[in-house]
């Protein structure tokens, strides 16, 4: 299981909206102020699809995560099970 915890703050709304459109990603509504983005094997996001600028893209995991970062460059964020 891979999980990204996303603080429920306005600037991360594009990340939540993008996650809803991502196949295999389950979006769990905020509990204690954190959204949970979950997948069995892997979560993958593309910056341009989310419309995030550099400040938010580079803090997209600031809420914490479970899994292993296997790719995180200027445009792709991929977290896989493990770590």
């Amino acid at each position: 299981m891979v999980t990204i915890f996303v603080p429920d703050i306005p600037e991360f709304e594009p990340l939540i909206a993008g996650a809803r459109k991502t196949g295999g990603c389950t979006v769990v509504k905020p509990l204690k102020g954190y959204w949970q983005l979950e997948a069995e094997q892997e979560l993958c996001f593309h910056r341009k699809d989310l419309g995030l600028g550099p400040a938010l893209w580079n803090s997209a995991l600031m809420g914490g995560f479970r899994g292993e970062i296997v790719e995180y460059d200027r445009n792709v964020l991929r977290i896989a099970e493990g770590g």
Binding site: T3, P7, K32, G53, L61, M62, G64, F65
Partner: protein, 198 residues
Amino acid sequence: MDNTLTLNGVHHSARPTWKLKETVEFYRDKMGLKLVHAVSARGWGPANHPDFLHFFFDNGAGGTIAFFYYLGDKQPEHLVHRPEYDSDAIHTAWKVDTRAQLEAWRARLENHGVAIMYQIEHEVIESIYFRDPNGYYLEIAFPLRGFLAIDSIDAAITLQAAIDEEARSVAKGETLTKIGPIWRAKGEYVAQLLQAAS
């Protein structure tokens, strides 16, 4: 602990300058901040303290930005401001209430020949950045939102994760250089928080 003990804003923040005329002209004339106070004194305290000026400009909300100018003092190398990320971490960010006010400040500064380095929306604010004649990094920001309860909760977890992860690295004789391990440690703390709540 006495939780009723609070601070009531900034009286002054202060930095040294070795450019008296340029600094006065920048803050008073280009920025248009009112010069509200100036101390002129013989050196006192430490035996090597030069005679000095200490002057204050109103930067709103009852606060001031202040400078020390030491007569005859040669600027030491370690206080020459280097325009790099770590030195620029020391900066003042003033607040305005609207984007229109931010744009008006940008226009005013540009009209006075002050270069705006960039204007950027980042996290909870939108800001313009520029430098004073000393090279000091300055920012004017328009808050896009206020701080929420979750911001404070999240900040506490972030810093606890960072402190703990750094201690783990030190214990292993390593230096923590990446944010990833902190995010992963934080993930465990947040998971525990949510598990307790569910």
